[in-house]
């Protein structure tokens, strides 16, 4: 008879917990690189493991073994602390996402607000990291990261509030339950889904909006001084953010998992991969925008659209 505590430990460390999330993060990075490569008529990772699936892990360990330089002029504490904090903040919200069964590991009323808060904290951390590296390009990169945060923060939160209003609760699990017996949010709030996708692209700093680390202009932006273990952690945090973004889109708008634990896992993964595909497609289809395009675009189009969407839901009173 497996006692209760061991079962919880297994849940936290093994199945929907760390081990599963780590492998999901590495798998998603591989999936993203492979899809973008196929869009661009080339192969993508091939040689490490079957079809190159172990490539992200290999990159991670390679970076770990690399020399870890802390520049003399950088102020040490925030510079060293930032990657670790970024990784923990990236993993934390994933525990509120329902993967096995319709409620996540920790699901309480208001965990959607927790996720939103953590996501804006991450953008702040990026700013601090770039600023602490006191490199000229790093400073410009972190200013741009800050600017970008102002642009996408409000429309993103508004578009996340949409499903909460229609489901009448601020917990991701309850929203998923409401969608199971109700209708998928994406059908009644398509505009909200589009706005959320664009803002998540900006949050993940992916191609159309990878302005803070635009390598062809400011040589890597805020990432420029990080190397070795710090860079490994930051890239891993980036993968986790990608998993968080896709699973948010999947659970808030596409209905999330339902049915007994093994079917819910499959449905969750299917929707998750669909959202990851959408994000990869967007990454391959655009050139990089300038920071003022993003700011004007966000304030002129994204925020009003998100507001309109929220008013529509209230008006229908679902």
């Amino acid at each position: 008879m497996v006692s209760e505590e061991i079962w919880i430990l297994i849940e936290i460390f093994l199945f929907p917990g760390f081990l599963f999330l780590f492998s999901l993060a590495f798998f998603t990075e591989w999936f993203d690189r492979k899809i973008v490569a196929r869009f661009q008529n080339r192969y993508g990772p091939l040689h490490v493991g079957p079809k190159g699936i172990l490539q992200p892990i290999a990159d991670f360990f390679k970076l770990l073994s690399k020399e870890d330089i802390t520049p003399r002029a950088a102020d040490k504490v925030p510079f060293r602390l930032m990657p670790i904090l970024l990784l923990t903040l990236a993993i934390a919200p994933l525990f509120c996402i329902p993967i096995m069964g319709s409620n996540g590991l920790i699901s309480f009323e208001g965990d959607l607000v927790l996720i939103m808060f953590i996501m804006s904290l991450m953008a702040l951390l990026v700013f601090i990291g770039g600023w602490a590296s006191t490199n000229r390009f790093g400073t410009i990169g972190s200013i741009r990261a800050g600017l970008q945060m102002f642009a996408y923060e409000i429309p993103m939160n508004l578009s996340m509030i949409g499903p909460a209003i229609s489901a009448g609760s601020l917990s991701v699990s309850k929203i998923v339950e409401w969608q199971i017996n109700g209708v998928w949010n994406v059908l009644i709030q398509p505009v909200g889904f589009a706005v959320l996708t664009i803002c998540l692209m900006a949050h993940l700093q992916r191609i159309p909006f990878d302005i803070p680390e635009a390598e062809s202009e400011i040589v890597g932006g805020w990432l420029v001084e990080f190397s070795g273990k710090k860079l490994a952690l930051i890239r891993l945090a980036n993968d986790f953010e990608f998993v968080l973004a896709s699973s948010l889109m999947a659970s808030l708008f596409l209905g999330g998992p339902y049915g007994p634990w093994y079917i819910s896992l499959i449905t969750y993964l299917a929707k998750f991969l669909l959202c990851a595909f959408i994000l990869s497609n967007l990454r391959a289809a655009f050139a990089r925008y300038r920071i003022d395009h993003l700011l004007t675009g966000a304030w002129k189009y994204l925020t009003p659209l998100a507001l309109l969407q929220v008013c529509l839901i209230k008006a229908w009173g679902i």
């Binding site: 490569a37 196929r38 869009f39 008529n41 080339r42 192969y43 091939l46 497609n281 289809a285 655009f286």
Partner: protein, 119 residues
């Protein structure tokens, strides 16, 4: 955005890039790569030595018993020597993947059959 249909079409097609060590492209038939000598035909006229832009060819000895030291490192693969050689002793090979791990290996010394016993 305007590339959408093009991108989805490519999703199905086989990628354009080659997996180099396993899939190779065979060289075009008129390719000009490393040159090589048929030393028996060579009459030691040193026309090729003078024409070579990269000074890659060196003649040792004179007349019928001359030998050629050919340094691939300095060769430009321009094929001037192939054109200028009166007795067509120089011919172009198809091997363009040239890798050496020391400068000495780059130099090939074309010896004649009779001399080989002596030197």
């Amino acid at each position: 955005m305007a590339m959408e249909n093009d991108m989805f079409k490519n999703l199905k097609e086989k990628p354009m890039t080659l997996r180099f060590p396993y899939e190779r492209v065979e060289p075009v038939e008129g390719i000009r790569a490393k040159v090589s000598w048929d030393i028996e035909k060579c009459i030691g006229c040193s026309l090729c030595v003078r024409i070579c832009p990269g000074n890659a060819i060196e003649l040792i000895g004179r007349g019928r018993r001359a030998e050629i030291r050919y340094n691939v490192g300095r060769c430009l693969f321009c094929g001037e020597c192939v054109d200028v050689c009166p007795t067509k002793a120089i011919y172009a090979t198809e091997d363009f993947e040239l890798v050496f791990n020391s400068r000495r290996e780059m130099i090939t010394h074309f010896k004649r059959k009779k001399n080989r016993k002596k030197s």
